[in-house]
Symmetry: C2
Subunit: 635 residues, 2 copies
C-alpha cells in the first residue's frame, strides 16, 4: 500500500518537509494548500522536486465550503475550483479533498449538495481529476461519514468518491462500521490518532492529533474497515499537532512511517485471526499488500541495566550499589566493565569501554546507556524493531564474547535483546569473570519493578509509539502531578504480563528538576530505577542501617494519610519512621521510597513493594518526593 | 480590603511562596493543603513564619466530598474534619473551605447536605472556627452558587457561610446577580479570570485560570456583587495555571497584586458612576475601603520610539531609516543621541547614553529600549502606573533638559509619558539641536500604526494585565497562525480611540524566529514597528526605488488571492508587483508589507494602510511573511 503524509504534519519550509518525507521513505504527500501558498516555489518546480525525491502529490487539500450553497456562492466556488484544478494539473495531482461545508450560508439539503458536487465532478472529469468528499467533524450539516457517503451516492459520478478520516469519525464517537461496504468509491483514507480530551472538536483537531499508536482512538478498527472495503492506498496521515510543528521534522517523519507500518501490521494480524467463515477478511488479505512485520516478542523482564561511567563514578556508584545491598559480581574479561547483582537484578558499570557508553558519558555524565531485555526470541525482537524503523546497533564484540542483537531506542539508549534461555546470569558467564554469590541476600531487593524515563515534550509521543509498536507495550492512563516548579505528566507502559514496565515522564515546565535532567540528557534519559522488595519496611531498615539516605518525607504527609485511607495507626507510624510512602487502589496497595539523587547526575533509585494487584506507580505521592527534593536543595 | 492569594497560585516550595507573597505586599494567604502536606515545616513553624512575614493564614482549603453523604461516609468525614480542625488551630487559621461534593456517593438531597453542614459548623464553633461552603463548577449535585447559598440558609448556623469564586460562576455562564443579597453570610471571595475555552470545566479550572484582567470573564461585575453584599475582605486569588506554576514566583506575585488593585479600582469606579438613587452603591462605597488609583490617562499616540545602539548601529540603522524616508532631524545637546523623523514619527537612536539604553544594548544588541506615549496628563499616568505596582524610572537628566515621568514596563523597556501639549516636536526642542524640516515628505509614512512585542510564554499574561491595568488598553481576540517552526499566538491591545496599538505575540514553539528573538531579549522585545501610509503602493514604490528590501511574497499567494476575495485583477497584479499583502474584514481592508530584518537583530518594520475601519493586524498573512523569512534564511 502506498504511504503518504500531509505536509501540515511536519515542521519547516515546504522544501524541508519534502526532503524529510522522502527520507522517511514515503511514497507520496497530501499537499496542504497553505504550505504551497506561502512557498516560493512554482507548481512546476514543486512537481519536479517531488519527482526528484520519488514522491507523488496524491492529494490537494482542503477545498472548503463548497457543497449545499445558494446559487451565487456556488458559482463563485466553481470558478474558484477551476483555479485550483489548474494548479493541480500543474502539480500532477489527481485528486482534491472537498471537506464538508462549515459556512453559515450552507443549506441543510443533501440533494442540493449532491447536485453541486456532481457538477464539480463533471468539471473535474474534463481534466481527468477526481473529487474526494469528506465529512468534517464540525461540518455545518454534514459531519458523519455516512452523511457524506449518502451525498456521494446521490451525486453518482465516477469522478466523485468518499474520503474518510479516523479523527473526524472517532472524535464524534461515531462508528467506522460500514465503511467496509463503501467499496471502490472509497477514494482516500486519512489516519490520525489523538488523546481523549474534553476539548471542543475544532481545537482538538487543529492542535492535538497524533500518529496512529500515539493516542487513544481505535485506529486499527477504523483502518480494518477501509481494508475490508478493498481500499488499496494511499494510506495517508493528516496530523495537526502543535508539538510536531515545533520539532525537527526528520524525527517526526520517522515516527510517522513507524505508525503506518505498525497500523498495517496490526490490521493484517486481525484479518489473519479472523474466523474461516469471514470470507471478506481473506479477500482483503489477498488483494492488499499490507506490511508484515515479525510479531511482538514476549519479554520476560529486564536482564540488565548498564551505566556509562568513568573511573571515579565506577568507584562511587559501585559504593552506592553496595550500600543498597548489591554485591560485586564480576569483571569483564577484556573491558573496563563491572557487574553488580542483587536478587534477580544485574547492574553493569561500563567505564566507556564501548562507543555507546563513551558517547553517552561524554554527553550526560554518569547515566544509563543501555538496557538488556530478556526474550525467548532475540532475533525476532531485533527483526521487528528494524522492520519498524529502529536503527540496529552493532556493538564491537571481542573474540568469543556474547553477541547480542541490539537496537538504538529514540534518543540514543541502546536496547539489547537477551536470550531468556541464558537465565539470570548465563549472559555474563561467557564475558565476565564472576565472583561467588554473596551469602547475605543484600537488602532484599529482588527484582526490577520499573524504569522511569524522563523525556522532553517533543519526545513523549515518539516514545509511546516506540514502546507500543516495537516493544508491544500498552499505555496506561496519563496522570498529571505537581512538582514545585511545574506539572509533570506521567504514562505507564507495560506488557500484558507486567514483566516489563516503563514509566514515561514529561515535564510541562522547563524549570522542574525532571525537565532539566531530560534536557541535559538530550531529551531522553533514565530518571530513576525502581527495585522491588517483598518486605519494603524490612529492606528500608537494612538500607538505612547501611547508611543509605532516603528522600525525607514531611511529617505532615503522615498526619494526613489516615484521613485518606483507613489504616492502622501503628502501621502509619511504621511508615513514618521508615519514611515510606503509601498508595492504595481498588486492586491493592503500594509502598515506596526514594533514594537521594546520585551525586553529579539526575538519577536516583526507588524501592517498591506491590501488594495485591496494584498496577500503578504511586503518582499521587510524587509531589511529596519532588517537594522534598526541592526543599533539600534549598538547605 | 485585605488581600490574599492561594499558595497554589505560585511556583516554588512553600517557603518560597510565602516570601514571594509577602514581598508583593499581600496581607494573607489561602493555604492549599497539598502545599502543606508536602512541606517539611510543622504547623507551628508555618504559623511563626507567616507571623514573621506579616501574613495571616486566612483560609485552609479544600475540604472535599463532605455534604450529602450516606451516614457511614459522613461519620468518617467528621473524624477527618477534626484532624483538619486541629491543624487549623495550630496554624491560627480561622476558616476552612468546603467545596461541593464530587463523589459518586453523594446524594441529591439539599436538606441532608444542610443538616450535615450544620453538624460540621457546630463542631467548628466549639473551636471558634468557621466553615465556608462553595459550589464547585463540577460538583455532583451542587455546582451553582445559588444552590450552595440555599443549603447554607437551610443549615442556618452562625459558623457556616457562603464562599463564592468567580471562576466557578463564570465558567458555567451563571450570573453573579444576587450575590449582593447574601450579605454578611458571604464569608470569603475568591477571584479568578480565564480565557474562554471550549475545554471541559475541570481541565479549564485546573490549568488555565489567570488573574483578574488577564482573561475574558466579567470579573468586575462579579466582584461588584460581592462589594454590594457588604463584603469587606479578604479579597483573594485562587489561580491554577500551568504557566504560573512554571514561572519564577516573584514576577507572578506582582501580577497577582496588580490584578487585585485594578479590580478594586474598577469596582470603585463603577460604584462611583452609579446613579444617585442607587443607595446600595453609595453604602458599599462608604463601608468598604476599595483601592483608589488615579484614572487611566487618555493617550494621543506614540511620541517616539528609542533604540539602544552603539556607534556602528547608529550609523547602519540611521542609514536604513534614511532609505525608509526618514530624515535626520537633530542631535541631543549633551548626549550621543540622534533623532530621525518622518510625518509624525519620531525615532531616537541612543548610543548607550543612558543607563537603560546601556543595559538594553548589552543584553540584546540593537533594540527598542524605550517608548514615549503622548498624554495630556503625564503625572497622572505615572501615578496610576506606580499605584498599580509599576516601577518608576528616573532617568538622569542634564541641567535644563526635559524631564519625563517614566516607568519600567515588565521585562525592562522604559515607558515615558510625554505631555501632549508639547505637540509632535516640542519635546525635542529643548534637548536637541534640530535640523530644518526635510522638504520631500520622505516615503509618505505618516504615523505609527502599531508596535509588535514578542514575548516568551511566561510573559504574555503579565503584559495583557499591564496593558489593561496600567495603560487602559482593551484586548482583542487572540488569533493563532503558523510559522514554519510552530504556532504563534497574537493578541492586539488598543485604547478605545485606537491611538495606541500594541500587538502581543507569543510563540508556542521554541524554534520559531519570534521565540528565539523573544528569548534573546530576556522575554520581552519589540519585534517590529508598523508605520502607516495613506497610499501604501506609492510608498512601497518609493521605498523600493530607494533600495529598501521587502520580504518577498510567493507568487502563489497572489494566484490564490482572487479565490479568497472579489478583487479587480489589475489590483491584484499591482499588489503582486509591489509584494504587498492584502486582508479584508467586514469593516475594511488592510494592505501591508514587511522590510527584511535589520542585520544583527530580530526586528524589522511593517508598512501598512488601513482602509475603512479595518481593526486588525493582517494576522492571516503572517504565515506568508514567516514562511518567506524562513526560506530566505535557507538560501
Amino acid at each position: 500500500m502506498r504511504r503518504s503524509i500531509a505536509t501540515v504534519s511536519l515542521s519547516g519550509t515546504l522544501r524541508d518537509k519534502l526532503q524529510a518525507i522522502a527520507a522517511a521513505r514515503f511514497d507520496g504527500i497530501e499537499l496542504f494548500e497553505p504550505d504551497f501558498t506561502t512557498a516560493r516555489m512554482s507548481a512546476a518546480e514543486m512537481r519536479q522536486r517531488c519527482d526528484d525525491l520519488g514522491l507523488k502529490v496524491e492529494l490537494f487539500q482542503p477545498f472548503r465550503d463548497f457543497e449545499g450553497m445558494p446559487q451565487a456562492a456556488f458559482e463563485r466556488s466553481l470558478a474558484r475550483a477551476e483555479v485550483k484544478f489548474d494548479l493541480m494539473e500543474a502539480l500532477g495531482c489527481p485528486m482534491v479533498l472537498v471537506c464538508s461545508n462549515t459556512s453559515p450560508l450552507a443549506l441543510p439539503d443533501a440533494q442540493l449538495a449532491a447536485e453541486q458536487l456532481h457538477q464539480l465532478a463533471e468539471r473535474a472529469a474534463r481534466r481527468n481529476l477526481r473529487i474526494g468528499f469528506e465529512a468534517l467533524a464540525w461540518g455545518r450539516h454534514v459531519n458523519k461519514w455516512r452523511q457524506a457517503w449518502d451525498i456521494v451516492q446521490r451525486a453518482d459520478h465516477p469522478h466523485l468518491g468518499l474520503i474518510v478520516d479516523s479523527f473526524h469519525t472517532a472524535s464524534l464517537k461515531d462508528s467506522p462500521q460500514g465503511i467496509a461496504d463503501v467499496g471502490e468509491k472509497l477514494f482516500f483514507v486519512q489516519m490520525a490518532d489523538a488523546p481523549l480530551m474534553g476539548l471542543d472538536v475544532i481545537d482538538w483537531a487543529r492542535h492535538h492529533r497524533n500518529f496512529p499508536g500515539q493516542g487513544q482512538f481505535d485506529v486499527v478498527g477504523f483502518f480494518e474497515q477501509c481494508v475490508r472495503a478493498g481500499y488499496s492506498g494511499p494510506l495517508s496521515l493528516e496530523i495537526f499537532n502543535d508539538v510536531f510543528r515545533a520539532t525537527p521534522n526528520r524525527r517526526i517523519a520517522v515516527d510517522a512511517m513507524r505508525s503506518l507500518l505498525w497500523l498495517e501490521g496490526e490490521v493484517r494480524h486481525r484479518l489473519e485471526q479472523a474466523p474461516a467463515e469471514d470470507a471478506a477478511a481473506a479477500r482483503a488479505l489477498q488483494s492488499q499488500v499490507l506490511f508484515d512485520p515479525p510479531p511482538v516478542p514476549a519479554f520476560q523482564g529486564i536482564s540488565f541495566i548498564e551505566f556509562a561511567v568513568d573511573g571515579t563514578h565506577a568507584e562511587n556508584l559501585g559504593q552506592l550499589l553496595r550500600t543498597l545491598g548489591f554485591s560485586f559480581a564480576g569483571r569483564h574479561r577484556s573491558k573496563a566493565v563491572t557487574l553488580f547483582r542483587q536478587g534477580g537484578v544485574n547492574l553493569v558499570l561500563n567505564q566507556q569501554a564501548t562507543p555507546a557508553a563513551r558517547e553517552r558519558f561524554s554527553l550526560q555524565g554518569p547515566s544509563v546507556c543501555a538496557l538488556g531485555l530478556r526474550t525467548d526470541d532475540p532475533a525476532g525482537a531485533l527483526n521487528r524493531a528494524t522492520a519498524l524503523q529502529s536503527a540496529r546497533y552493532d556493538a564491537p564484540t571481542g573474540t568469543g564474547e556474547q553477541r547480542l542483537p541490539s537496537i538504538v531506542a529514540p534518543g540514543g539508549m541502546v536496547i539489547h535483546f537477551v536470550d531468556d534461555a541464558l537465565g539470570e546470569s548465563g549472559l555474563f558467564e561467557k564475558d565476565f569473570i564472576l565472583e561467588a554469590e554473596a551469602a547475605d541476600g543484600g537488602a532484599g531487593l529482588q527484582s526490577l519493578d520499573h524504569l522511569a524515563v524522563g523525556l522532553t515534550p517533543d519526545r513523549l509521543d515518539t516514545w509511546v509509539l516506540f514502546c507500543r509498536a516495537v516493544l508491544g507495550l500498552d499505555a496506561g492512563d496519563a496522570v498529571k502531578f505537581a512538582d514545585p516548579f511545574g506539572l509533570i505528566r506521567s504514562t505507564g507502559m507495560a506488557d500484558a504480563a507486567r514483566r516489563l514496565r516503563l514509566v514515561l515522564n514529561m515535564s510541562m515546565s522547563e524549570r522542574t528538576r525532571m525537565a532539566q535532567a531530560a534536557q541535559a540528557s538530550g531529551g531522553v534519559g533514565v530518571q530513576h530505577i525502581a527495585f522491588a522488595s517483598a518486605d519494603l519496611l524490612a529492606s528500608v531498615a537494612r538500607l538505612k542501617a547501611a547508611g543509605v539516605r532516603l528522600v525525607p518525607i514531611s511529617d505532615n504527609y503522615y498526619d494526613d494519610l489516615p484521613t485518606r485511607f483507613e489504616l492502622d495507626a501503628a502501621f502509619v507510624e511504621r511508615l513514618r519512621a521508615a519514611g515510606v510512602l503509601f498508595d492504595r487502589s481498588p486492586q491493592g496497595d503500594y509502598l515506596h521510597a526514594y533514594t537521594e539523587g546520585y551525586a553529579g547526575s539526575g538519577f536516583f533509585f526507588e524501592l517498591v513493594q506491590r501488594l495485591g494487584a496494584y498496577d500503578g506507580y504511586g503518582a499521587v505521592n510524587a509531589p511529596a518526593r519532588m517537594a522534598s527534593q526541592a526543599q533539600e536543595e534549598q538547605q
